[in-house]
Point group: C2
Chain length 129, copies 2
C-alpha cells in the first residue's frame, strides 16, 4: 500500500469529509486548517498535511475544468452554426500554438541537473511533519 514510499490513496470516509468541506465553501485552507483536517482524517488512515493541500488544489482545478467543458458544451448546443467538435478542435489548435510559443528555444543546453529529489515547499508551508 503506502507505508514507505507510495502515494496517498484516500479512504472513502476521508473523501466524504473533504468533499463536505469543499461543498461548504472551503477552497484554499491555510496551514492551521490543513493540520486540523489532516489530524481528523488521520483517524481513517495514514495521511499528511500535503495530501490535504494537494487534494484541494486538484479538486478545485478539476472542478474548473468540468465547468469549462460544460459551458463549452452548452454554447455548442445553443448555437447551430458552430459545432462542439469545431470548438474543441480550435481550442486544441490554439493550445498547441501557445505551447509552441512558450517553449521556443527553451533549452540552451547547459546544466544537466535534472533535479532529483523534488519537494513541495508549498505556499503557507512550514515544517509540516
Amino acid at each position: 500500500m503506502h507505508p514507505g514510499g507510495a502515494r496517498w490513496s484516500p479512504m472513502p470516509e476521508q473523501i466524504k469529509v473533504l468533499e463536505a468541506l469543499y461543498n461548504g465553501g472551503m477552497r484554499t485552507p491555510n496551514t492551521l486548517q490543513i493540520e486540523r483536517i489532516a489530524e481528523e482524517l488521520g483517524k481513517y488512515g495514514r495521511i499528511e498535511g500535503k495530501n490535504v493541500f494537494y487534494w484541494f488544489q486538484n479538486h478545485k482545478a478539476r472542478e474548473r475544468q468540468k465547468q469549462k467543458r460544460r459551458a463549452l458544451l452548452a454554447l455548442a448546443s445553443d448555437n447551430g452554426s458552430v459545432g462542439f467538435s469545431d470548438l474543441k478542435r480550435e481550442e486544441e489548435r490554439c493550445k498547441r500554438k501557445c505551447r509552441r510559443w512558450s517553449s521556443c528555444l527553451e533549452g540552451e543546453g547547459g546544466h544537466s541537473d535534472r533535479t532529483l529529489e523534488l519537494f513541495p515547499l508549498l505556499p503557507e508551508w512550514k515544517q509540516m511533519e
Copy 2:
C-alpha cells in the same frame, strides 16, 4: 525593515551566494538543501526557507523569460519577412484567445464562497488569522 510582517528583502551578500549557486547549476533545491542555504544566508540577515525556495522559482522563470525574448528578437532580426512586432502581436492574440476559452462562462453562480461556517470538526474554522 522586515521584522514583523514585511516581505523578505535580500541583502547583497545573500544575492551573491544565491546567484553563485544558480550559476553552478542549482535550479530546484530540495528541502534539505534549502534549509542549509537558508542557514548559511542567515548570517547576513533574517531569512527563512521559503524565501530561498521562491527565489529559485522566480529566478529560473525570469531567466527563461529573458531567454525567450532574446530568441524572439534574434529571430525577428534574422528574418525580414516577419517582424518582431508581428510575432509579438500574434502571440498576444493567441494568448487572449486561449484565456477566452479558459474563462468562458466561468462563474456560473457557484458558492458564495465566504459563507457558511460548517462542520463539527474544526471548531471555529472561520476567521483564521
